[in-house]
């Protein structure tokens, strides 16, 4: 069975009962937070939900459905959000990530691995065990190698003819090497992407529990843009928690 958690009118989850027990122990979920499954008709405090069965049978009518429009000002501030000791993720709008990537298209969309690397360095700050950055460093090194070999191929063509049209290098020397490097870049990007996904899911479902889910198929096709879209939303949520409903991203 899965439960939603409500705090100050904001809902998180769904979480399993084991997740709730773990988050309660780590302090990310408070005993006073409200929880409800699809089968339940009323929100109940997490402390009541996690009680042993005999105690849980006690009446909970005093915990009525919370008023989302007028949250109790005395209600404790969300630990995982407003008082989060973790810095926000870099907040470049996902649309700009797309734009800068297509504008650097001629450089193999080099903006994207650079931005992935920036996100991974931020992940390293919030999760010291994060290792995804190494894959993007390798991608950038291989991209430089790809262009150096490409330049060498073009120069080799020029030395044998009076001019080389754009595109000639694809049939020229080093074709096999360049293809292998491109494939290696593609594989490394995928490995980095899924490592980054696992780290984001871990962070935003444990230390900052916002119930983040990341579709593996969307990750495969849209990777960094898809992650940025979610990071923008999470940042907006954190801003709203800090400054009220007027905040936007």
């Amino acid at each position: 069975m899965h439960y939603q958690v409500s705090r100050n009118g904001q809902t998180y989850g769904p979480y399993t009962i084991e997740d709730l027990q773990r988050y309660l122990a780590s302090g990310n979920v408070l005993p006073t937070d409200l929880a409800k499954s699809e089968e339940m008709t009323e929100w109940v405090p997490v402390s009541v939900l996690l009680q042993p069965p005999a105690e849980a049978a006690a009446p909970v009518s005093e915990f009525a459905t919370p008023s989302f429009a007028n949250p109790d000002p005395a209600y404790p501030q969300p630990v995982a959000m407003a008082a989060s000791p973790y810095p926000d993720a870099p907040n470049l709008h996902w649309g700009l990530v797309v734009l800068f990537s297509v504008l650097t298209c001629c450089f193999a969309m080099i903006f994207m691995p650079v931005w992935n690397l920036i996100i991974c360095l931020w992940l390293k700050r919030v999760q010291p065990n994060a290792t995804a950055a190494i894959y993007y460093v390798a991608v950038l090194v291989l991209l430089v190698l790809y262009f150096v070999v490409g330049g060498a191929a073009t120069l080799a063509i020029l030395s044998h003819s009076s001019g080389a049209p754009f595109g000639a290098a694809r049939y020229g020397p080093y074709f096999g090497l360049r293809l292998v490097v491109l494939l290696a870049i593609w594989v490394l990007r995928l490995v980095g992407r899924y490592t980054e996904r696992a780290l984001l899911l871990e962070h935003f479902n444990t230390v900052e529990p916002v119930g983040l889910t990341l579709d593996p198929v969307m990750t495969f096709f849209f990777g960094g843009v898809y992650f940025q879209y979610h990071l923008n939303r999470i940042n907006a949520l954190k801003q709203t928690q800090r400054f009220g409903a007027g905040a936007r991203y």
Partner: protein
């Protein structure tokens, strides 16, 4: 903790400036001294190389080189989208640095620019 976040972003902005200024100076020197049309060592667009299609960024390096020589019309022919967006990108970078955080842009504006980029890409491959 918002204060912490701003401090970190200011550090990032300072780091970006420390790398962007020498990087930009080196790029300007390279493009002015070795025009991409006459020197073959510049990277070739992988999209164009492998598919024969012009990407939205194709010609941006040559356009920048032309701009650095004061040839606006020539730059426009190489990549009009890049030339049109360059002032906006510059303003965005300056505002980001001055504020110490990335500026918030309206979704409609970003969507419009992406639409223009898509139309530009289709048209330049058809004409």
């Amino acid at each position: 903790m918002q204060g912490t976040s701003i401090v970190i972003e200011r550090r990032c902005a300072a780091l970006a400036l420390a790398t962007a200024v020498p990087g930009a100076a080196a790029m300007i020197w390279l493009l002015r001294s070795f025009p991409p049309e006459r020197y073959a060592f510049y990277p070739r667009c992988p999209v164009y190389e492998w598919t024969g299609l012009l990407c939205p960024g194709c010609g941006a390096t040559r356009a920048l080189a032309a701009l650095l020589h004061g040839h606006l019309a020539e730059a426009w022919r190489f990549n009009g989208l890049f030339v049109a967006l360059l002032p906006l990108l510059f303003i965005y970078a300056v505002v980001a640095y001055r504020r110490g955080r990335l500026p918030v842009l309206p979704n409609a504006g970003i969507a419009a620019v992406l639409l223009v980029a898509a139309v530009f890409t289709v048209v330049r491959n058809l004409v």
